[in-house]
Amino acid sequence: MLSILVFLPIIAAVAVMLGAPARQTSIAAAGANLALGLWAAFSWKCACWSFSVPVLEKPALNLSFGMQDGISAVMIALSVLVTLAATLNARAPEGREKLYYSSILLIAAGAIGAFASTDLFFFFAFHELALIPSFLMIGILGRGDRQAIAWKITIYLSLGSIVLLAGLVWLANLAGTFDMPEMVAMAKDGRLVIDPATQKSIAALLIVGFGSLVSLFPMHSWAAPAYASAPAPVAMLHAGVLKKFGLYGLIRVALPIVPEGMQAWLGVLLVLLLGNLLWCGMVTISQKRFDSMLGSASVMHMGYIFLGIAAAISSPENTLGIPAAVLLMFAHGVSVALLFGLADRIERATGSLDFADLGGLAKSAPALAFTVGFAAFTAMGLTVSANFVGEVFVFLSAFQQYTPANGLDALQITCIFAIWGVVISAVYMLRAFRGMFHGPPVDATRNAPDLTLADRIPALLLAIPLLCVGLYPNLLLNLLR
């Protein structure tokens, strides 16, 4: 059944390329996917979602999809939500509808395929499938110095994928199977014993590979310019959904199969995630444009999720780290997609995203101001938003094993530094909001149109889940149990 979720966007993309009405087909496919995806996510325990076709006998490769646990369910829910919002937000340039909409659909299909795959081979392959249209969209339809940025993101992410592939292939060879649940089970019950030195090497490959896909410091410098240049739906899908593949992979593959190797790198990981939070946070403050600020901020927020993962690495008894990281992945994915969608809306209304050119937008477009304000507060992690719950859980998870007698360990010290990231977020988000919406109106903003109904639907689609999860986090946490 899950195969429908993956193949529906692909079929729709082919139909669009062959001349079906682009926007209508895409919205219909994304809408159907949303309904099916949410249904699948909330009933993931049902075996009826599994799907498997053998494509190779020896070694056994299966094109198989399935809900391995609640994490897959949450990621699929995130994917279908953002896909529909991105499709609704899409404004294709004249004459490029086919490329534009089919790329959006292919990115969505690749992301859903990667999250739903239970076979290591297709897990990797579907993610790569999603990267290609992202590169093309940035290179063909991006803004600014698009070709240079397209080459940069291609080189960073291809190299990251290649390192990742080496790690995954090594694991699969050791395990003798490509079946991911089987590999995890083998690692748990001792059928797959990997010596510590090998674990350490594999973990290094996986951290560098997955890490560069999630813009872990210092492999992060592709992200901000790419999101600033990408067409809005691509930025929404990539920053919101596709990038989470790296984190998902660490949780799904690295943590359960090479736990000792990950533990060996815990110290390094803690330093790197502080790099994300504090270094990239400072970089974010200095941004002069809203879109590059958002890109940079999304790099920074990866630090919190890595902190949750680091908590889970630090001790096998830690039960909070992974749910916290997953919750935050969902919250960040939805809120960053919302922000990128709104940024595109601001640019269409005013013709600029430069803080210097904007001001007083709250007078001419109050509804826009309210929505951006809500999204910005959410991204800062204010109460009653899903991000708040996620961040609090992450901080709690770091202290779950804390006993006053032993004092603070590296994880907890890192966490104390990480909390300063909240302050940094507040600084740049509030400054951005003030710069764009407050003060006297300027030429660009004086006659800016407010949100129309067509703009409000995708915004609501993303804002409502944020609010719901913020008020009632068990909505997602129940899935993870």
């Binding site: 390329m17 494509v55 070694p59 094109l63 392959a125 290649i162 080496a166 060879n173």
Partner: protein, 489 residues
């Protein structure tokens, strides 16, 4: 039917075509090509039902001494099918290419000199088929020469075209040089082991104490075969000859000739990889050749502007990946693929992608009168469907996941990681990344560059059907490779 009839049938087909060609009116020489295609299709069908002596040990023919020189296992069957499919597609490509062929043999419009062009590949095919079954170095050498001599003619076939003639001379001289290496190497191997038979050669370890002369012979044979597979140190001919030869011949060289070289290399190295005395040095030599080939092919491809020449370098690059798989020296196991199976799988996917690209290239050559990457400018606007197909084929050559090209590369990486050849893995990764760059250059030209003229390229029926089938196969085998591997078992 006993398997040895297959080669006899193929040669007979070639001779019959040559005889019939004399009586075909000069305007309709394409019928020779169609007859060749039908004949090859028939042989292809017979290949699937042919049997070796193991199937009927009691019969008289199974006791023939011929079986000392000739074997028919699943690998032989696979490479015979491979040769037949390649030749069939090349002949079909030649039929659609006859306009250019006519222009450079007689004069435009007259097909008088093109008839033999359809018959010659059939002889090369017979040679490749015999190579797949060769069990004896002398027999293998003769079969290889049948292939090479046919190619001497085919490469220089467009006798009124300077490029084709130059390519022919280069191919002849370097081919003769490599043959020299090969024969000299075979002589050393024979001198040290006392036999030409590859099945008996493995007894050598009881006879010699110092492996140096034997290794010298093996190295010489490998250098000679490097010419056929397009690997360092005998790779220099490839770009020039590929560029100058008629496009169907280039396609034939890059797929058929390479596969024939690889099957012989596999058969030749098998006894030496099985023995502890020679295994280490042979694998070392293979990995050195693989790394050098990967680096040369991929890095030299980056600045190319002529698409046909680019495909030449790409052919070297793929030879590097194939050598890397061989250098792992992994025997097949219950649950995993061995080096030989990976090489065969890789070659099969390579056949599909490369021939698909050459079909398109041949038509662009005819209709836009050029083979540069810039001649593909704006194809995305004038022929979106064709551009989409070519994009898929090129992406597959680059190794994009969910296409056939990825399957081959994936298993090569998998083998290399398992064998712990980290230097090879590293170079192969750089090579794969470079591959993305230079294949996507063509994709960029098709979709991003403005066309010089908006005249759409129209594919003739045969080419259109073949491109569609090959593109579809690229996607299907990318997700479902089992049918190819089923042929190997």
């Amino acid at each position: 039917m006993p398997a040895y009839y297959l080669e006899a049938l193929t040669v007979t087909l070639g001779l019959a075509l040559l005889l019939a060609e004399a009586f075909v009116p000069s305007k309709s020489k394409a019928w020779v090509g169609i007859a060749a295609a039908i004949g090859l299709g028939a042989v292809l069908f017979i290949t699937t039902i042919a049997i070796g002596p193991e199937a009927k040990p009691g019969s008289a023919w199974a006791k023939w001494p011929l079986w000392n020189f000739y074997q028919f296992d699943s690998l032989a069957r696979f490479y015979k099918i491979f040769a037949l499919v390649t030749t069939l597609l090349v002949v079909l490509m030649s039929i659609d290419y006859r306009k250019i062929l006519a222009r450079f043999t007689e004069h435009a419009g007259s097909e008088n000199g093109t008839g033999e062009f359809y018959a010659l590949p059939v002889f090369a095919c017979a040679g490749m088929m015999w190579l797949a079954s060769a069990k004896d170095l002398a027999g293998a050498f003769v079969a290889l020469e049948l292939v090479t001599v046919t190619f001497y003619i085919l490469v220089a076939y467009m006798r009124r075209n300077v490029g084709s003639l130059e390519a022919g001379v280069k191919y002849l001289i370097l081919g003769a040089l490599s043959t020299g290496f090969l024969v000299y190497g075979i002589a050393w191997v024979y001198g040290t082991t006392g036999t030409m038979s590859l099945s008996e050669i493995s007894n050598f370890k009881f006879q010699i104490s110092n492996p140096a002369p034997l290794l010298f012979g093996i190295a010489l044979v490998m250098v000679g075969l490097a010419f056929k597979i397009g690997a360092v140190p005998m790779q220099v001919w490839i770009p020039d000859v590929y560029q100058g030869a008629p496009t169907p011949v280039t396609a034939f060289l890059s797929v058929g000739s390479k596969a024939a070289g690889f099957i012989l290399l596999v058969r030749f190295l098998e006894p030496f990889l099985a023995s502890d005395l020679t295994r280490g040095p042979v694998l070392k030599l293979l990995i050195i050749l693989a790394i050098a080939t990967l680096l040369f092919g991929n890095l030299a491809a980056i600045p190319q502007t002529n698409f046909k020449r680019l495909l030449g370098y790409s052919s070297i690059a793929h030879a590097g990946f194939l050598l890397l798989a061989l250098a792992c020296g992994t025997p097949p196991e219950e649950n995993s693929l061995g080096s030989v199976q990976v090489v065969s799988l890789y070659l099969a996917t390579y056949l599909i992608m490369t021939l698909g690209v050459f079909f398109v290239l041949a038509q662009v050559r005819i209709q836009r009168d050029g083979e540069n990457i810039s001649d593909f400018n704006g194809l995305g606007k004038s022929n979106p469907t064709l551009a989409l197909a070519l994009t898929i084929l090129l992406a597959a050559l680059a190794g994009m996941p969910l296409t056939a090209g990825f399957i081959g590369k994936f298993f090569v990486f998998s083998l290399a990681v398992e064998a712990g050849l980290w230097a090879g893995v590293g170079v192969a990764f750089i090579a794969a990344a470079a591959g993305f760059y230079y294949y996507l250059k063509v994709v960029r030209a098709m979709w991003w560059a403005e066309p010089a003229d908006r005249q759409p390229v129209t594919l003739p029926v045969i080419s259109k059907a073949c491109v569609a089938a090959l593109t579809l196969a690229t996607l299907v085998f990318g997700i479902w490779p089992q049918p190819i591997l089923a042929l190997l078992r």
